[in-house]
Symmetry: none
Subunit: 200 residues, 4 copies
């Protein structure tokens, strides 16, 4: 990578980091391109050399964050000796719930507007070369498991939506229950869902 390319990448990252900070702080609607470029220390026109508009940069940030989040969860899982599929999935769910509880702005950011769709898309398909996608990880977990599933994608769909939706409500609003209270219920439900999709 030449010096110019390195410089380009630096600018791009600077813009993404700055945008992420502003989006999670002020919200995307209240963040202007001016805010971003000023904080990033580049000229206004430069923004348009890298991104189409505010929503383009948002989507790329979300994809990146989704990848990071699940990679970290899986990496942590690997360091444990949990082998049973259900336990492994629940470990990941809990890990992510903990992570998002500690980083509420990130959760806000992921869930607001139509970002949840972007997030899921990033989660299940490979967006960038640098990033891993959870679909692969999930597939691997399925393969490594002794159980056989019918419609594993639908199973994952139900689980992701359930966890995402209830988790958001609990973490952000503490309503109707806290994450701490939510977790055991969620665990039971997830185990039931898995059972529901298990081929005997």
């Amino acid at each position: 990578m030449g010096k110019i390319d390195a410089n380009k990448k630096k600018k791009l990252e600077s813009l993404m980091n700055t945008s992420f900070e502003l989006f999670t702080t002020k919200g995307i609607n209240k963040t202007s391109i001016s805010d971003i470029v000023e904080k990033a220390g580049v000229a206004k026109g430069t923004f348009y050399l890298y991104f189409k508009d505010k929503y383009d940069i948002r989507n790329r940030i979300i994809s990146h964050k989704a990848s990071q989040l699940f990679a970290a969860a899986y990496s942590a899982l690997q360091k444990t000796d949990i082998v049973i599929f259900e336990d492994r999935l629940i470990y990941i769910v809990n890990y992510i719930l903990d992570e998002l509880t500690a980083n509420k702005p990130l959760l806000q950011f992921i869930y607001k507007d139509l970002s949840w769709g972007i997030f899921k898309k990033a989660l299940l398909t490979q967006v960038s070369n640098d990033d891993v996608d959870f679909a692969q990880i999930y597939q691997k977990m399925i393969d490594e498991s002794t159980i056989t599933f019918k419609d594993p994608e639908i199973m994952l769909f139900l689980i992701i939506e359930l966890v995402g939706s209830t988790g958001y409500s609990s973490i952000i609003y503490n309503d109707p229950i806290s994450v701490r209270e939510l977790k055991p219920h969620l665990e039971t439900t997830i185990r039931n869902i898995i059972k529901q999709f298990t081929v005997e």
Copy 2:
């Protein structure tokens, strides 16, 4: 109600109907107050006589629609002779999924931005005198049932979030599956969740 009051109510409804149409067509962010008043045929200042801002009118529309939707579902349920609690709940879920499938803009509108929170709030608490809230209906259904539940509110929470989240994805994006395909899975999961909260 005097002539003036009647006129006021007419204006208010005109504004709400117009706003709903525009919000579901263009989205709330792309809808300006100017658009609303122009279409409603009132002066700009009149809008501010009735609503604080765009988000005020949105919340009131959502509350109203939520009430309407669930009232219709319950009303339809009454006309059937379904008596078992699980069946009744699933009837309502299916009714609403059908309703929203037929009216995608309404679903878009309910789910975008932070409206889902408003929707749930409207669902579970009485907002306006004219409107019924589902919390009452649900309580009644629980009371009429022969089963006893532990934490029925949490049970409802899980179900609402699961149905809302997966339903949105399926209805709007047909992804990863269509509503038609989703329904049986959802039914099984809901029955499992109910079991999970049943006191033997």
Copy 3:
């Protein structure tokens, strides 16, 4: 005065008192007719039955306040046994400076915009039947004095402008000196001005 007339006067006074309070608190530009009528507890249309607009009511308030202020000063003077003309004038000046120091919003109000002109006009001509004007008092003071003046109106003009202008700066901004420091200088200058207009 009939019951209706009494009621009218009450409304009028209520509007004037409320306006005065708002003008001195928020400033005239930031005070709307809505603010006034709401605080006064009358309907919007009613305002226009009594006043032409915001500036009409302001002028009438200023006239009234000017009259009150100087009447109080003269009344206080009468209770003393000061007889020498210079001393009497300086007594009044000091009295008014003290009064305005204690009531800065009133001073702000009098001095802002073009109100100073209105104030002087109210001071020197009789505006309302109820109010006295300082021109009469001044004339009386001149008549009662043993000294003869050439151009007493010009003399008064110089003194009023000097006291008003320096007093405003000192009271409101404490700049470049405080009222306390200003007073002795002002006294000397006023005595010199009087000398300057004295016919030997």
Copy 4:
């Protein structure tokens, strides 16, 4: 100075000149930003590139005008052979009264609202690099004089306020006397004030 910088200065001056004309013609309250930019031939947004708001541009205009006015007066004084302090000060006073008599809109503009405070501030402190401040000139005049003064700043304060206040009334309203009639009285009073502050 590059082509861009030259262009920027041109825009800034165009906006200031246009604003000055409108402010003195219609008054600042009746002048909208739209009026200014339209007349100046720039886009609305451009205004906000150079000034914070209407009051920002007003203050900068006033500062500039104050500087110009006094610089011209002092420059004219230098061309005379007047040496005595009192005479020099009175020369400046008369010069400025003449100038403002010939340019009433400027006087209106300086005296309205709270601009008089801004004017004095600009007069006594250096605001811009381009501009001179009268405080320096005054100090120089004091230094060059053979007389010693106690509290020369207070002396100047009294004179400025007296001249400003009476001058405004006389020039704009011809009330209670014309500038022509005012001048000799003012001259006497100023000489007395100077005497009052002279250390024997």
